[in-house]
Symmetry: C2
Subunit: 116 residues, 2 copies
Amino acid sequence: MTVKSTQVELDKAGMVLKLLGDKTRLSMMKLLQKNECCVCEFVEIFKISQSAISQHLRKLKDVGLVRETRKGQWIFYSLNQNSDVYELVQQILAFIPNQDERIIELEKQGLRIICE
Amino acid sequence: MTVKSTQVELDKAGMVLKLLGDKTRLSMMKLLQKNECCVCEFVEIFKISQSAISQHLRKLKDVGLVRETRKGQWIFYSLNQNSDVYELVQQILAFIPNQDERIIELEKQGLRIICE
DNA sequence: TGACCATATAAGTATATAATGATATGGTAT
DNA sequence: ATACCATATCATTATATACTTATATGGTCA
């Protein structure tokens, strides 16, 4: 039997856990697990300022947990599957309840951004 | 195939991750995974005040991650296996490198407390 | 009992964090 | 080009956090 779990340096793991230790970011990451989202969608979902959302995403990006792709006028964020802590993140997110009603709600309000 | 991972409420998961997002506490938890430790041992290991250690342990205890047992004049801490987030914690700790050299070091210095 | 020890709590301080509003940046499209 | 839009950054503020020292608590054991 092989236990497949890449070890993560203590400092790095600490950084990741601290990032995920914020309710907003944790919820964002859970959403990104199944959906690409852009900043303005997060603003709608979390009801905090665009600035605050942007800063959260920057932190996640700085540690390499998410990546961004421009599509038309929007920048879409998604999980960075090449992160060296991707597996850790996935394991953690597996425990978090689905946040998809938040996306459903967006769609109901006609605020979901669909590209391509 | 069954994915066995008890869902954990977002708020609760956030609390746990925030707690583990501190390097000292994360390291403590990893140590506790294999060893019972008392406050004075942690003081030696982490080289911070007894007060600081005590406060970290209190936070871990408040969320139910650890439990305490008195043995003689010492209070030993251990992982609380009955915690409703025990599985999550275990999954996370699996990614953290072993901290046992710290215990070995303690033993070398004759500072390891052994009871019973 | 009383002294002693390990641990907990209190009070204070410095730093980190999450938010805001205002402004800058930079791509899109007319 | 210029207006517009989404996003990023700056400056500031309020709150949270991790630490320290000093003191309290509460077992243990002579």
